[in-house]
């Protein structure tokens, strides 16, 4: 007998970062009943919290800037893999989305002349990055959206509830099975439209800038529902992030252009890799240089390189007080010493394939923000992630509401729900196994860190595939010692399940791309091929399937 309770909503939004909360705001404006859920605290648990700036267009734009030049920069940066339909939508709609946020209470930072402060970001041909809350822009956007959600009676939020899987009926997504950590119950949320906005995948790697919740759930949920993932090998690494001490490993350093980087021989190695730009190189180039130095044995004991900012320390303190203070509090005094840095997993450019309406290929399922793929191609331009969240969050919300207006949702076969419920109950009684869920997570992280990081090669990717298969088997011997409510072990277990599936998608895609392009650098194929291909991932019969397909309209 089915014990899980059913909850009905017009629009279900999974994830409450900038993308999810934007989607909720727009859907609710269409008078639809919206349920936003998050496995952490709503509006406080995603990568959106840490974002510093947002790129875009507005009446504050540089006089030479406009849709065409923005579009040009994005397409160029994408290394041929960006979907033109998506880039066009971003460039055309960003000003409107930003204005809505401002209407809802976002206050942009101003310069000395009381004008909107616009700054330059590497890769953009013109200055077009703006901020709020003195560089805590993500927080500023989340505050505005949270306020909107609290005021709007159509929006209901639910913290501490994690999505196990999406549910389908008649080839259409009709909701999700979720687990409420606070009462230890499973629920079936039946929805007319479902929006996935679960953020990124940084936690698949041992060192990441991402919050603890970025365990790649949305990619795995999308796959499980029959959606296609595109270009999953394109993982952006933030080149200069802290390696030690452990307590701040992964913390991004923004002021590397004010710093000098050295290897353990005392060489300023960027003179070799990029004599013109030195440390002020693009993220992909800098990551490859740093990873090469470390791989060739010129790193520190902790596997990092050394950053020295002493010459420009006053500027650093002025522009990046939060970063300077946080390093000092953790015992790294940049005034007199050096920091140990290295690349950290930062952003997933690949993701669930969507069209410009934020629709996936599966009816009823919309995807927005970092979980979606195709916009950034092989290299995301700095500060375009938040822009993506608000533009495609809006699209997903509006289109989700429209579908909810028309949709007649097919009934779900109760046996589908019963099966999940039974499997889940069985897991909860696995106290005798061998591996704690956090250990499974660590194994996945270590495999990807070694074999699918900044530098990849054929042999390593093959090894990674085999090792991930071993870990997959170890799931059968999982040991869950605590099944009381709010169990971190149960949470870790569910997340580990999403992680293994996404890890296989990343490694498989990396193996299928037989060239180096964008963030994917394979030392066995160091060059870019002339023909442009996407890697595509699907999941059926419990099996990950990878293929490549020529880029539409590509060279």
């Amino acid at each position: 007998m089915l014990q899980l309770k059913t909850i009905d909503t017009d629009v279900l939004v999974i994830g409450s970062g900038a993308a999810g909360l934007s989607a909720a705001a727009y859907a609710a404006q269409q008078q639809k009943n919206v349920l936003v859920l998050d496995k952490g605290a709503v509006g406080r648990s995603g990568s959106s919290v840490g974002a510093v700036q947002i790129a875009g267009l507005g009446d504050w734009s540089h006089e030479d800037d406009g849709i065409d030049s923005y579009l040009n920069d994005i397409n160029e940066s994408g290394r041929g893999l960006s979907d033109p339909e998506l880039t066009q939508t971003l460039a055309e709609e960003i000003d409107v989305s930003l204005n809505h946020l401002i209407e809802w209470g976002l206050k942009l930072d101003k310069n000395e002349n009381k004008e909107v402060a616009v700054s330059h970001t590497s890769g953009h041909s013109l200055p077009r990055s703006i901020s709020a809350k003195k560089g805590k822009t993500g927080l500023g956007i989340l505050h505005a959206l949270r306020r909107k959600a609290t005021k709007d009676e159509n929006i209901h939020t639910w913290s501490d509830v994690i999505t196990l899987e999406l549910v389908k009926s008649s080839e259409r997504v009709v909701g999700a099975i979720v687990f409420d950590l606070t009462d230890n119950h499973l629920y079936f949320i039946q929805s007319k439209a479902t929006i996935l906005a679960t953020g990124g995948a940084g936690q698949l790697y041992p060192t990441t800038s991402n919050p603890v919740q970025s365990t790649s759930d949305g990619f795995s949920l999308g796959l499980g529902a029959g959606a296609t993932l595109v270009d999953m090998e394109q993982v952006q690494f933030y080149p200069v992030s802290m390696v030690a001490p452990h307590s701040i490993a992964g913390f991004c350093i923004s002021f590397y252009h004010y710093s000098k980087l050295y290897n353990n021989l005392g060489e300023r190695f960027m003179e070799k890799y990029a004599p013109n730009t030195l440390e002020d190189a693009t993220r992909d180039k800098l990551s490859i240089a740093i990873a090469t130095e470390i791989a060739e044995g010129r790193g520190t004991e902790n596997g990092g390189l050394l950053l020295d900012a002493q010459e420009e320390i006053e500027q650093v303190k002025k522009e990046f007080p939060h970063e300077h203070k946080l390093c000092r509090d953790r015992g790294v005094d940049l005034n007199t010493g050096r920091a140990e840095i290295g690349p950290a997993a930062h952003f997933m450019m690949g993701g669930v394939k969507i069209n410009k309406e934020a629709e996936s290929e599966v009816p009823g399922l919309f995807v927005a923000g970092e979980t979606s793929g195709g916009l950034h191609g092989g290299n995301r331009l700095g500060n375009n992630a938040l822009s993506e969240c608000i533009v495609f969050g809006a699209r997903a919300g509006l289109n989700g509401a429209k579908l909810a207006e028309e949709a007649d949702v097919p009934q779900v076969d109760p046996s589908v729900l019963e099966k999940t419920e039974a499997q889940f109950k069985q897991i909860l009684s696995s106290a005798e196994g061998e591996y704690r869920p956090y250990e499974l997570k660590e194994r996945i992280q270590s495999i990807l860190g070694v074999h699918a990081g900044v530098l990849r090669n054929n042999d390593g990717l093959l090894k990674a595939q085999n090792k991930l298969e071993e870990v997959q088997k170890q799931f059968n011997q999982v040991k869950i010692t605590n099944t009381a409510y709010y169990s971190r072990e149960v949470l870790d277990y569910i997340e580990a399940g999403h992680m293994i599936r996404t890890a296989q998608a990343i490694v498989g895609s990396a193996a299928a791309r037989k060239e180096s392009r964008g963030a994917h650098y394979n030392t066995d194929y160091p060059e870019q091929e002339s023909s442009l291909q996407h890697t595509l991932v699907n999941f059926s019969d419990n099996q990950i399937n990878i293929r490549t397909a020529p880029v539409k309209g590509g060279l």
Binding site: G40, R44, V49, V212, R488
Partner: protein, 98 residues
């Protein structure tokens, strides 16, 4: 090195742990250590680890602070003492409701 930790789990239950510890550990690192090696049922909340989200806030040696930013140190009584913030509903151990 060992650190003596007291965690208030309910109004009338406080548990003690003796945790391996190094000088660069934050309170959050200590909690991770307890979850992994001492008591898998310990409940605490965090997200960004960089002092921005504030979800890791708790009383640390009696004062509200961010567990991801605060260095783990014993208070005057020789214990690192952790308890949930007094305001609002506590879900479990150190976790507040949002």
């Amino acid at each position: 090195m060992k650190l003596h930790v007291k965690i208030q789990r309910t109004d009338d239950q406080t548990d003690q742990f003796e945790v391996d510890y190094g000088p660069d550990m934050t309170v959050l690192n200590v909690l991770e250590e307890i979850y992994r090696h001492h008591d898998s049922s310990i409940a605490y909340r965090y997200s960004c680890r960089t002092g921005l989200c504030t979800t890791c806030m708790m009383l640390i040696n009696g004062k509200p602070d961010l567990s991801c930013q605060k260095t783990a140190e014993p208070g005057e009584d020789g214990y690192l003492t952790l308890s949930p913030l007094p305001k609002g509903k506590t879900i479990k151990d150190l976790v507040k409701e949002y």
